[in-house]
């Protein structure tokens, strides 16, 4: 039997999207869903946690979206999308069986190999949990490679928490320290209320700052305050990695939409160590 050739993006034009079909759709919150996608052709767009794909809806447009899960079968993709504008609203409305265009993967990934043998601190705010979820799933799959694994997650309110089924499973794991907080609790919430940087002090006993790799994703102000807190605890700048999810367009470092200092965030990022960004941190846009 002749096996169909597997197409990889290296062999193709990065501007041409591949057709994918929506396999499942899970509602996370009022405005956010997680889609599982399968390629229609025999393509493998192998994305690493932290990287993003360009998802397109014909006649509407194309947007960068991080991978939020690990493929259950080769070639599958998982994305968590929040409806904020025209393209994302269409993506969120897709149903199983609908088609979608995908190109990628693009950008840098979380430094999972660098974190081998280290304590790992994943810090997510809001939708920033999407790219960190794929990192956390990958870490938990090879849990023995890491020392302490700590995940901190802040959301607007209890109903805005993503991945609730994962969260309750992860809370039972003895090999994961998970802390959550919300800004605006409802009457049923019995957990923490306040901002994510406050959680760092609470878990300080679990990590050794010099041997910790921190990965942060969330609104930029939240990341700024989180970095300061990590610095106070002695985590070196070169161990602090951020995902900067700026508005971008071409995804291959041509158009300049996502430029920050000398970086084109679509190709030099979105994941960058703070030590490289620090010289530009006086740019008001950061």
């Amino acid at each position: 039997m002749v096996k169909a050739a597997i197409t990889t993006p290296a062999a193709t034009n990065p501007f041409i999207p591949f057709p994918f079909v929506v396999m499942s759709r899970r509602r996370e919150t009022r405005d956010t869903v997680t889609l599982r996608l399968r390629p229609l052709r025999n393509v493998r767009l192998l994305a690493q946690p932290g990287q993003f794909m360009m998802l397109s809806v014909i006649g509407v447009g194309e947007v960068p979206i991080s991978v939020s899960g690990l493929p259950r079968r080769p070639g599958e993709l998982e994305h968590t999308i929040r409806a904020v504008g025209s393209v994302t609203r269409h993506l969120v409305a897709l149903r199983p069986g609908d088609y979608i265009g995908v190109r990628g993967p693009f950008g840098t990934s979380w430094p999972l190999q660098l974190a081998h043998g280290q304590d790992v601190l994943l810090i997510a705010g809001g939708l920033g949990f999407a790219p960190l979820r794929s990192a956390l799933l990958s870490i938990l799959r090879e849990r023995w490679r890491y020392r302490q694994v700590i995940a901190l997650y802040g959301a607007r309110s209890p109903t805005d928490l993503l991945y609730r089924r994962d969260l309750s499973r992860w809370q039972q794991r003895p090999d994961l320290v998970l802390r959550m907080t919300v800004d605006h609790p409802d009457q049923y919430w019995r957990g923490q209320v306040g901002v994510v940087p406050n959680l760092i002090r609470q878990v300080a006993a679990f990590f050794e700052p010099a041997n910790t790799i921190a990965m942060i994703c969330g609104p930029e102000i939240m990341m700024r305050f989180t970095i300061r807190e990590l610095q106070k605890h002695g985590v070196p700048d070169e161990h602090i990695f951020l995902s900067l999810e700026r508005n971008m367009q071409c995804a291959i470092g041509l158009c300049g939409h996502c430029q920050l200092g000398p970086f084109f965030l679509c190709k030099d990022g979105p994941v960058l160590p703070y030590s490289r960004l620090a010289p530009f941190s006086d740019i008001r846009e950061f």
């Binding site: 904020v84 959301a155 607007r156 800004d183 957990g191 209320v193 002090r201 609470q202 609104p219 102000i221």
Partner: protein
């Protein structure tokens, strides 16, 4: 609970850990250990601000009671932090409630005796006031960030 045991709590609590041993010993003399069950109040709005709480273990909600809605939590405070600064500005009353969300243990200082001690030992006084200022700054920063509604949809922010 003996003074010695209280000193041991103060030796590991972040608020007092780096004070001199003699300063901690003096503080321990003004303190007692207290336990709170879930939903028990440490502090109630409007009552005299007569104590200072170092939370050893547990979770405490700082909140306001809104008629028709019940308690509205604003921030939570966990083991290793402190609750209440109104006692410094005597005579004063609590402006918020503080309610245990979990079983909570706290080292509780009598405000009047603590104020007297801090006036008598100005060096200890200054060190505690600096720590309280740090606490107030931290809570203010957190409250300001919460106000920004950082995680809201882009257009609503």
């Amino acid at each position: 609970m003996s003074d010695r045991e209280l000193e041991e709590f103060l030796a590991v609590h972040p608020f007092t850990a780096d004070l001199d041993e003699s300063q901690r010993a003096r503080l321990a003399k003004q303190a007692r250990l207290a336990h709170y069950q879930p939903d028990e109040y440490l502090i109630q709005e409007g009552r005299p601000a007569d104590a200072f709480y170092l939370i050893v273990q547990g979770l405490v909600s700082i909140e306001l009671f809104v008629p028709g809605h019940g308690p509205r939590p604003l921030q939570t405070v966990e083991g290793g932090s402190a609750v209440g600064w109104s006692w410094m500005l005597a005579p004063s009353r609590w402006e918020f409630d503080a309610r245990a969300l979990e079983r909570t243990t706290a080292v509780v200082f009598d405000a009047e005796r603590l104020r007297a001690l801090l006036l008598e030992d100005c060096c200890l006084g200054l060190r505690l006031v600096q720590r309280l200022l740090f606490l107030v700054t931290e809570r203010l920063r957190a409250a300001r960030l919460q106000l920004l509604d950082l995680y809201g949809p882009p257009r609503e922010r």
